[in-house]
């Protein structure tokens, strides 16, 4: 997978991971991929729901040493 941009949102509490994700994805072109790192457990459900409602595709997510990683394709 080609990642066009990586956003480090580690250590940030809700709502900042999504606020920053939204800002970062606004700077991408349709079809490009954003990788997000977060330590906020709530980010998993919220990012999934947000991506769905705003037309982006959550390609995959995984958890590694308490860091949640998401790959989002801009819609």
């Amino acid at each position: 997978m080609i990642v066009d941009k990586v956003l480090d949102a580690k250590g940030l509490a809700c709502p900042m991971p999504i606020v920053k994700t939204k800002k970062a994805i606004n700077e991408l072109e349709s079809g490009q991929v954003l990788e997000v790192h977060s330590t906020d457990k709530g980010a998993k459900n919220d990012l999934t729901a947000w991506a769905k409602s705003s037309g982006h595709e959550l390609l995959k997510h995984e958890e590694e040493n308490n860091v949640l990683k998401f790959w989002l394709k801009k819609g």
Partner: protein
């Protein structure tokens, strides 16, 4: 306009006093559907905060101008953001201090009765999660039953009453919340009582609580009689306190009965549950006031916020106590059960002393309602 925090205690008063409140819950839709703040005269609107990042103008017409508005989220951060935006648009609004996490941890103490010779019994209502715990006070001593993990509430309460905690009980091995019993007992040098049949796998020392045991609180005779009443778990034990109160644990609730499946043994334990509810409890005085370990719906709260009802009244009105047919009873408690509580296996392991999650992990494990009953 101003944005003010509203504490869980203030919200609890509104629930008990049946006041009006408009709750704008900005968590995601799945979390809201699973668990929310319940109040008889509360109105709700659920719009996730991430739908409001560009502004709140589109939803302002859905907000009432005449009611108090409370913005709620998981931990408080998003609710402050949304409340600020609403306030800038000209409405007065509050946010829930500490979010649903704080709501889940709030305990409201309510005195439920007087006991022999100046003794008292208090109920601690964990309003957000529906868990009930108890303190029996007599002549300078206190016993605690089914404590939550928020142990400072009990320690401070006992200190304010100037009593020493001497006995700590759990009616059974809990699956919906992490018990504070063991830690309270360690800190106060009190005895920690557990039913041995629920404690076969525990990793710590405890005092085995068997049916027929009598534990005396204070040196004036307030006795706690243990009554073996299996069914929710194989060890579930009820207590008759001062011959006035029946602490029924997770066997009998005001408007529902215990479910037998949380330790994976539904089929095996149905018979025990029926025996406890339809035989053992029938032999008790109908004048006993039932004090359960949970409530499921806000309607079960009495006017003072307590959850308590006469055993005789429950024999008349509680559906689960009035199913003549054994097969129908079996079906009710083994089929179409509500979802199991969040992380209930990990919670059981924690209560057995097999795993030691930190406080943040414990909070996460306990998120959501208790779900220990069937109606």
């Amino acid at each position: 306009m101003s944005v003010k925090p509203m504490t869980p205690k203030e919200v609890t008063r509104k629930v008990i006093n049946k006041e009006e409140l408009f709750i704008l819950d900005v968590r995601n839709e799945a979390d809201f559907a699973d668990w929310k703040i319940e109040g008889e005269n509360f109105d709700y609107l659920n719009i996730p905060y991430f739908e409001l990042l560009d502004g709140v103008e589109d939803m302002l017409d859905k907000l009432p101008s005449s009611k108090n508005i409370l913005v709620v989220c998981a931990k408080e951060g998003s609710s402050i953001m949304v409340a600020d935006m609403i306030s800038e648009a000209g409405l007065s609004v509050s946010y829930l201090e500490g979010g649903m996490k704080a709501w889940s941890e709030h305990l409201e103490p309510v005195k439920v009765g007087d006991l022999y010779n100046g003794g008292e019994i208090y109920q601690f209502v964990r309003i957000g999660k529906g868990c009930l715990s108890y303190m029996v006070v007599s002549n300078g001593e206190a016993a605690i039953i089914d404590a939550t993990r928020m142990i400072n509430h009990y320690l401070e309460f006992a200190k304010n009453l100037d009593v020493t905690i001497t006995h700590v009980f759990d009616t059974h091995l809990h699956a919906d919340h992490i018990s504070g019993g063991r830690v309270i007992a360690e800190k106060t040098n009190a005895a920690y009582w557990l039913p041995p049949k629920d404690a076969e796998e525990v990793t710590f020392d405890y005092s085995p609580l068997e049916g027929g045991n009598i534990v005396r609180i204070g040196n004036t005779a307030i006795d706690i009689h243990a009554l073996y009443s299996p069914g929710h778990t194989i060890g579930s034990t009820s207590f008759v306190v001062d011959e006035k109160f029946l602490l029924s644990g997770d066997i009998l609730f005001v408007d529902s009965i215990g479910r037998p499946d949380l330790a994976g043994m539904a089929e095996d334990w149905v018979g025990d549950l029926r025996e406890s509810l339809y035989s053992s409890y029938r032999e008790l005085s109908e004048e006993l006031i039932v004090l359960p370990a949970h409530f499921m719906i806000i309607d079960e709260l009495n006017e003072n916020g307590s959850v308590a009802e006469k055993l005789g009244t429950l024999f008349e009105n509680n559906h689960g106590l009035n199913i003549e047919d054994e097969n129908e009873f079996r079906k009710l408690v083994t089929e179409n059960l509500p979802p199991q509580p969040n992380a209930f296996q990990e919670i059981r392991q924690t209560n057995m002393g097999k795993i030691y999650p930190d406080e943040e992990q414990q909070r996460e494990m306990e998120i959501g309602p208790n779900r220990c009953a069937v109606r």
